[in-house]
Structures are given as C-alpha cells and as structure tokens.
Symmetry: C2
C-alpha cells in the first residue's frame, strides 16, 4: 500500500505552508513562469499569482522573483531562500515518512480490504 503522508505547517493564525504551496514553488522552478506553473495544476493565473504573493510576504525575503514584462509577462525564478524552503520542507517530509513507518503500517493493516477501482 502506498499511503501518501503530507505535512501541513501552521505557523500562526494566518501563515501556513503545505503540499500545495510547495508543489507550486517546484512548478515555478520547472517552468520558469508563474502562469505555466499554475496551469499545471489547473489553477487560474490570478490564484497562482495570489499564492506566490502570499509566499513572498510570509517570509523575511521573497521566495519567488519575477523578471521583466510585469505581472502578466516575463519569467519567474525561485530565490535562494525559495530553494531553501522547498528543500527544508521536502527533507522534513522524508523524515516524517521514516520516523512513522511502524505507526503507518499498523494503521494500514487495520484498513478494510480496498474496494476495486472503478
């Protein structure tokens, strides 16, 4: 069974970091563009831009840097801090998978037999 573990961080009432934002950061790195990254997840440009802006405000320095062409054009890259946050989050995920192997296996063993896929 390939249980997927995801980690969500709530820093305070308002600021959160979870799988969605981290995947968006990685997609921006891959595509060099906020719009293209958003499209990968079927996300409206407005939504992708909003999340990017939220991430940039959340940290002491921006995680994403846009280049040229203004809001709707040009490219986007991760800053050093952006790369670092992605790496820390993915490292944390690897560690939680390792540290909870026994608990997850016990929970999996208690599940009902999987129903057949449709």
């Amino acid at each position: 069974m390939s249980t997927r573990l995801t980690l969500r961080l709530d820093f305070d009432g308002e600021r959160r970091l979870g799988p969605g934002k981290v995947a968006l950061l990685e997609a921006i790195r891959r595509h060099g563009s906020i719009a293209a990254a958003g499209r990968e997840f079927g996300m409206a440009y407005r939504r992708a831009w909003h999340l990017t802006d939220e991430l940039n405000r959340m940290f002491a320095e921006p995680l994403i840097e846009t280049r040229g062409g203004g809001r709707n054009g040009g490219g986007a890259v991760l800053t050093d801090l952006g790369e670092k946050v992605v790496e820390l989050y993915r490292n944390a995920e690897r560690k939680i998978r390792k540290s909870t192997v026994r608990e997850i296996a016990s929970i999996e063993n208690a599940l009902a037999p999987a129903s057949l896929p449709n």
Copy 2:
C-alpha cells in the same frame, strides 16, 4: 513560535485520515455521543454522523459503536480499534514533531516578523 504540524494520510484515492477525523474520534470518546462531539466543532449532526460512518467503513472493523436509541439517540463509544487508531495517529504526530525539529526551526527563522494581532 508554536508552529502546529499536522499529518494527513491518503491511503488510496478515496480513504483519508487527518486531524479532523481524529479530533472527532477523541470528542466522541469524551462526550460518549456523536451529536455532542459534532457540536463541539460546530458540526451539523448529519455531518458528524457521515464522518463516523465513513470511518467505520474505512477500517476492517468499526471504530465507533453506537448504543441504543437508533441513529439520533443513545450513546457512542470508541471500540478497541478506534482507541488504537487514535493512539497510533497521535504517536505518529509526536514522532514527526521530534524528527523535524531542525527543519521546522530553519523554516520558522526565515519567516517575516509576525504582524501584530488585530
């Protein structure tokens, strides 16, 4: 900074276990009632019942047992398996907190200074 870590388990396409369902199980244990447990989270009875039913079908044996009075009356208790799943999940949470102390601290240190509460 008191960052809250939460763990979400996606077993397959359909079946999930996360902080909401586990908190509901604990509330059922506390109140001895699905309705009262739901009320604690401002949840309609229908919704609490639906989650309970989902949890019971998800596992090989029920996690919650209702007693007497039918759907809307009587009490509810956690079964042995219900207790075990709650314990395994909470143990897993403790372990993820321990195993990611360094990563979480590094991410916290990169956050912008917190804005003042409203």
